[in-house]
Symmetry: C2
Subunit: 290 residues, 2 copies
């Protein structure tokens, strides 16, 4: 039986998994992100003991995801300097000698949603994660959106709402991008207590919903996806009606949309498995084309 592997390469942890031909998870472990040599050696070790026929990697970025590029699979300039210049694809291919596909973490999640999640019956979707950072991955007709690089939707220009005095958390854009105003750390930045301890009724969630909705609206106008799926730890079902309400306000009956309660949803995949399943599916796709 053919088996597929998944690596979710995150800034603080790597999640390694093995799946069967139906993309079901057989085994899944987690290792800390340390130095490239050490962490990749543990990945190689894991997949030597748990053999797979192809591997999908969804990585933190920025990373070169252009398959025809000389540096495909290489981590670019990043806040994690020890990883900069590491070519994940080369290192893993050299050791494991199997077909490997590399994309971003959010693209992997988008693909998982597209194959078996909230987007399984549509041909276009965008997946956003709103967590420590904000990122988005978009699919249209089985292809990722992205010309010379992957999307960086969390850093879109936004102006602060006039009742929001927060100076922003983005080291690059301060309070002028979505990540700087709506990511998890902005809650503690505003209130001085960790986001998990803040009740959903606090008005900070209204602000965050407002900014996220703005991001969704601009994204919808550019891509016109059938579904927008929200993941990450910052938002919950509770905020959906607010986000939909602001979206409708921004749109003001201009552009046709599906019912917003159908179009804008949260990820329903169990155990936060969008990226794992997405990686399996991308490995399968890679396997079938070599």
């Amino acid at each position: 039986m053919v088996r597929y592997g998944s690596i979710e390469a995150g800034g603080t942890k790597f999640v390694l998994a093995v799946g069967d031909n139906d993309l079901s998870i057989i085994k899944r472990v987690q290792i800390p992100t340390t130095y490239p040599k050490e962490t990749l050696a543990r990945c190689i070790n894991f997949f030597s003991e748990n053999m797979v026929d192809a591997l999908g990697v969804g990585s933190f970025g920025p990373i070169d995801v252009a398959e025809d590029s000389d540096t495909y699979g290489q981590i670019l300039a990043t806040p994690k300097p020890e990883w900069q210049g590491t070519n994940i694809l080369h290192e893993l291919t050299k050791a494991l000698k199997i077909p490997i596909s590399v994309t971003t973490d959010v693209n992997a999640s988008a693909y998982g949603e597209y194959i078996v999640g909230g987007g399984k019956n549509v041909s276009s979707l965008v997946y956003f994660t709103i967590g420590t950072g904000i990122g988005g991955g978009a699919i249209q007709d089985d292809q990722f959106i992205g010309g010379i690089g992957h999307a960086e939707m969390g850093h879109g220009f936004v102006m602060p709402r006039s009742d929001d005095g927060f100076s922003g958390s983005c080291p690059f854009h301060k309070n002028h991008c979505y990540e700087g105003l709506a990511s998890g750390p902005t809650i503690e930045g505003r209130l001085g207590i960790p986001g998990q301890m803040v009740p959903r009724t606090d008005k900070v969630f209204d602000l965050i919903s407002y900014y996220v909705s703005q991001m969704l609206f601009n994204c919808y106008l550019s891509l016109r996806p059938q579904k927008i799926i929200l993941g990450g730890s910052v938002l919950s079902e509770t905020e959906l009606p607010r986000i939909q309400k602001y979206f409708a306000q921004f749109n003001h009956d201009y552009v046709v949309t599906p019912p917003l309660s159908d179009m804008i949803v949260t990820s329903k995949m169990v155990d936060n498995s969008s990226a794992t399943i997405g990686n399996f599916a991308l490995a399968k796709k890679q396997y079938s084309t070599v």
Copy 2:
């Protein structure tokens, strides 16, 4: 010899053209946009006298451009109510009995740039028109970006700059979208004199450059195109350095870009022919697939 036709269906005029197999313009005429019956009859008449083998239509919108949709080719809710519900594709196909492709005016322009213009050596680009309205069309690997409908990039949410007291010109979004703050009518709206009479040194062009740059930046983060090509009457070469400067300010060295002077350019196609040539090329593509 195979010949291709083009209809640029605009709100005030239709431009009809015939091209040869190399997509060169043989004949080009202009008729006023009146009522659908009358205007389409003149189109049909023109292409009966000037026979072509396939036709590309780039239309004002909103229009259904999804080829698998029951209402493909139909004008949707529009400020021109007499056109609402008109199915351009059906009317023309019934009379002319040739393969016809329908897309938006800006998609047609984007395609023209992609085939023979500023984007002929790239695989991804976005074309923006900044004129009476603002619109964008994006191409990635020979496909238009757009899931359940075409892009509406001119209506993205933007907050006014603090030194800009203008109340905005968009009937839907007032001063909260790019079109409402940066389209041609906003110049007269701010200064009380037509835009053509305002010197390029006026600070209104700085404001417009600022907003357009914001639109380009957000678009770049979502699509990562290799080229962004600007058309329409509002902007000229003069504003390019400003637009590039603001783009760099917004980005703040975050995301990798090609040199901005290469990436953000104005349309160089003579006689404003992007859409005409794009329609020819789309007609040719349609002709070769039937």
